[in-house]
Symmetry: C2
Subunit: 180 residues, 2 copies
């Protein structure tokens, strides 16, 4: 039976803009295995699967620094320290798209990458969304709003037109709800 390891030390080794890179010393409590591991501290995130009255999904197109390319993905962003993720989700949807929803439902959450990241991503379903407000973007954001019929999403995933792992995870929860 696999047991939790014991951490004996955690040291900050590099402080980046949006994350803190640490080294953790830990050892198994049942075998002699041990090591020094990379662990990244980061704020939690939210992703919003938002549907209009006519079942169109609201997506955002933006340039992403990591892959040096333009992506199409669900609206989302970071949750402030101590903030209710639902509040963060409402703010991100409104800031990135100007959208306001009639109804909010929690879909679930992921550990973003349990191997080396501490944070979670929370997924929400926003129904009856109307794009009634203006975008309110951060100084480094350029975001275009794109709406796509819900039934086209599976094909867009398969053709590699939507590639963000956390957008995929949000739809996993959306479809899981219809299968369970």
């Amino acid at each position: 039976m696999i047991k939790k390891w014991r951490r004996t030390n955690k040291e900050l080794v590099y402080k980046a803009h949006i994350m803190r890179h640490c080294q953790v010393h830990s050892h198994s409590t049942t075998t002699d295995k041990k090591g020094i591991f990379d662990v990244i501290e980061c704020l939690d995130w939210v992703n919003v699967l938002s549907l209009t009255h006519s079942d169109e999904v609201i997506l955002v197109r933006q340039y992403r620094q990591g892959i040096d390319a333009v992506t199409l993905e669900l609206p989302g962003g970071a949750v402030n320290h101590g903030e209710d993720p639902l509040i963060g989700a409402k703010r991100e949807l409104e800031e990135e798209t100007g959208g306001v929803a009639r109804e909010w439902l929690k879909l679930g959450h992921s550990d973003v990458n349990p191997a080396f990241m501490e944070n979670r991503c929370h997924y929400f379903l926003a129904r009856g969304v109307e794009l009634t407000k203006n975008q309110s973007l951060d100084p480094q954001e350029e975001i275009e709003i794109v709406t796509v019929p819900l039934k086209e999403i599976p094909g867009m995933f398969q053709r590699g037109e939507i590639t963000h792992s956390l957008t995929h995870a949000a739809f996993c929860f959306f479809w899981a709800a219809t299968l369970s």
Copy 2:
């Protein structure tokens, strides 16, 4: 229309065990927006959704340093430089579970985190898997094999019993194939 930004500099700022932490200077080509951004270089990964002859999903239970907890997730790991992801997927399934499959299908891929990570995760479906070999674990791995009926997976996601974002993404592709 959102355009790709222009990178003017990329500098290694911290070399960790499994990744390289860089700072990228880039600027928009259509507005005066610009900045310095965190970008992490990392090997590509694979995740394997493997099914036995009786439609049981093969999962691995292991301690994960990032969240300091034991998780249940799909088998997977890193793809070597220049390696065909399918070869990496076969190796990871065999090393972590001793499993060998009758049939392999590509499900899709994600950009792991387009905002600050360069790498992808490739998803494969392995059918007719039999656990005929011994595990062959890395020095720092302790892995227990768990099989779960496929029909129980949606509920396990919803109850937070399987939390890895890339396991969620793999099932997104699996279910997308039935919806498109």
